[in-house]
């Protein structure tokens, strides 16, 4: 088990999410950057759905009460094991009594911490992903210990991996959304040429963008949405829905992010700039 000595900025337990409960109105949730999440588990030869910590901006201070192996992926967040720098994208052996600390991210937004065998927190509707109203807590809290399977095998054949995603890339590959055709050519052109800035209102539910689209579209009959759906609100604000977003919405759905774009956006934060790169639709 792991004791939380100090909380960081915002840390949650995440796995692949809660697919299949959307007909009860339950968000999918799961790791914001699924690419980095999956690398963290791969480095330890974990099951692909093993739960990890998702640490936003600055991770917590953790004390290990049992030995294990961990791996760090995603945003560059300097990490120190007993004050010694440890490398990301590489299995790290931790001993009983070791203390792991982080400083603030220098590139990206979310870092993943995988542990051998995965974290063993409560599983609700098939997932350990923390979400308000579904799991007991919506983030890790100091009073709770983080449990893991101490009998998991030592990682075999796990290798070092260099980071594959360029977090400085501003281009988000997107598909047309169901209401894209309602936009006039001027607005469509704005999406193709304009740069957009991420507003301070960005979290696991959604990212609002600063620049507005002038064309006003009527609301639609409440319809399904997905993580990565770009909504246009009546005042012209764009909201990109993220993993914890509600499963239906009444705003026109202009664009749909590709998987890679959604993972890339999860590594961006306030004031970062993005551009939409429209993929020609199939058929």
């Amino acid at each position: 088990m792991i004791e939380i000595l100090k909380l960081g900025w915002h840390t949650t337990i995440q796995d692949l999410g809660r697919l299949g409960s959307q007909s009860f109105g339950v968000p999918i949730s799961g790791a914001m950057d699924l690419n980095a999440f999956q690398w963290a588990n791969k480095l330890l030869n974990n099951n692909s759905s093993a739960a990890c910590l998702e640490m936003t901006s600055k991770g917590p201070e953790l004390k290990f009460h049992e030995p294990s192996f961990i791996a760090l992926t995603g945003a560059i967040m300097p990490a120190f094991l007993n004050s010694k720098t440890v490398k990301m994208y590489k299995p790290i052996e931790v001993k009983k009594g070791d203390v792991l600390k982080f400083s603030s991210v220098t590139l990206g937004c979310r870092t993943y911490l995988a542990i051998l065998g995965g974290f063993q927190s409560e599983k609700v509707l098939g997932s350990r992903s923390q979400y308000k109203g579904v799991t007991q807590e919506d983030r890790i809290v100091k009073e709770n210990l983080l449990l893991f399977n101490r009998n998991a095998f030592t990682p075999k054949g796990a290798g070092v991996k260099t980071i594959t995603t360029d977090y400085k890339d501003v281009n988000l590959k997107v598909y047309q959304g169901p209401e894209y055709h309602l936009l006039n050519s001027h607005s469509q052109n704005e999406f193709k040429t304009k740069q957009f800035t991420i507003s301070p209102s960005n979290n696991r539910m959604g990212y609002r963008l600063n620049e507005k689209i002038l064309q006003q579209l009527p609301e639609i009959w409440t319809a399904p949405t997905l993580p990565g759906t770009v909504q246009l609100t009546p005042d012209g604000t764009l909201i990109i829905l993220m993993r914890d977003a509600q499963v239906t919405g009444g705003y026109p759905r202009i664009l749909q992010l590709s998987d890679n774009a959604l993972n890339l956006l999860a590594q961006k934060s306030t004031k970062d700039v993005v551009k939409f790169d429209l993929i020609t639709p199939q058929e």
């Binding site: 009860f24 109203g133 598909y175 009959w221 949405t225 509600q246 239906t248 749909q256 199939q282």
Partner: protein, 230 residues
């Protein structure tokens, strides 16, 4: 759209017939289509999501069309249930009832009567875990949402917003006018299915006083207060 999803849309005009088609088509896709991971429902659409990217889009589309043309919405396969939900329309549970009463120029009792005599249809669940989109609110009770939403609406709040009425399954921000509260949980992950109602079911409300409300709240299995199978 995303290569893993297909959006199926009906005419943008919700009706009981459309709802029937949505429910039957959804059930049939889940039954007969391979590799579907989930289907999300709206008023006039279904979003079908596959586990992997759709490789042969035109074949998948043909299969769906064939499935749709064989749809029999009068089949008895889908059993719907009727639920009666106790609501306390009194005191601090009915935060906006007074205001609504003066704005709509209807007495509080009339509002309660109009609200509870209707049989509502559960169209689908969305917005929040366990939030039922209900159809059937009496047009005399239509009232625009608040311009400034409340930061906290209590769990169980029964409210009116625009042409809709709904129950807040959990504490959340919201812009609807609160007229009462139900002691029954709309979303509980400890139950076999986290939400008792499902798309196509019907629901009505009945008024209880505060003592009755507290009594029901303390009951471990309040389903007896709830079910009335059609």
């Amino acid at each position: 759209m995303h290569p893993r999803v297909i959006l199926l849309e009906w005419e943008q005009d919700p009706s009981p017939e459309t709802l029937k088609e949505l429910i039957h088509f959804k059930a049939n896709i889940l039954k007969y289509s391979m590799g579907v991971s989930q289907i999300t429902q709206g008023y006039c659409s279904l979003l079908v999501q596959w586990k992997e990217d759709i490789i042969n889009y035109s074949d998948t589309k043909k299969d769906l069309i064939a499935l749709y043309s064989n749809l029999n919405i009068n089949s008895t396969s889908a059993k719907t249930k009727h639920w009666t939900l106790p609501v306390c329309y009194e005191g601090e549970f009915a935060l906006d009832l007074e205001h609504l009463s003066s704005e709509l120029k209807l007495s509080k009792d009339t509002i309660i009567e109009l609200h509870s005599k209707t049989i509502y249809t559960v169209c689908f669940i969305g917005f929040l875990p366990g939030f039922l989109y209900l159809d059937g609110l009496d047009s005399k009770l239509f009232f625009p949402r608040k311009k400034n939403p409340r930061l906290v609406i209590p769990k169980g709040a029964v409210a009116i917003g625009g042409k809709q009425t709904g129950i807040y399954p959990n504490e959340s921000p919201g812009g609807w006018h609160i007229i009462g509260n139900t002691p029954i949980s709309l979303f509980n992950t400890k139950n076999e299915t986290p939400c008792f109602a499902t798309s196509g079911d019907t629901l009505s409300f009945y008024a209880v006083d505060e003592a009755e409300y507290q009594k029901i709240r303390c009951i471990k299995n309040p389903k007896a207060y709830l079910t009335k199978v059609k």
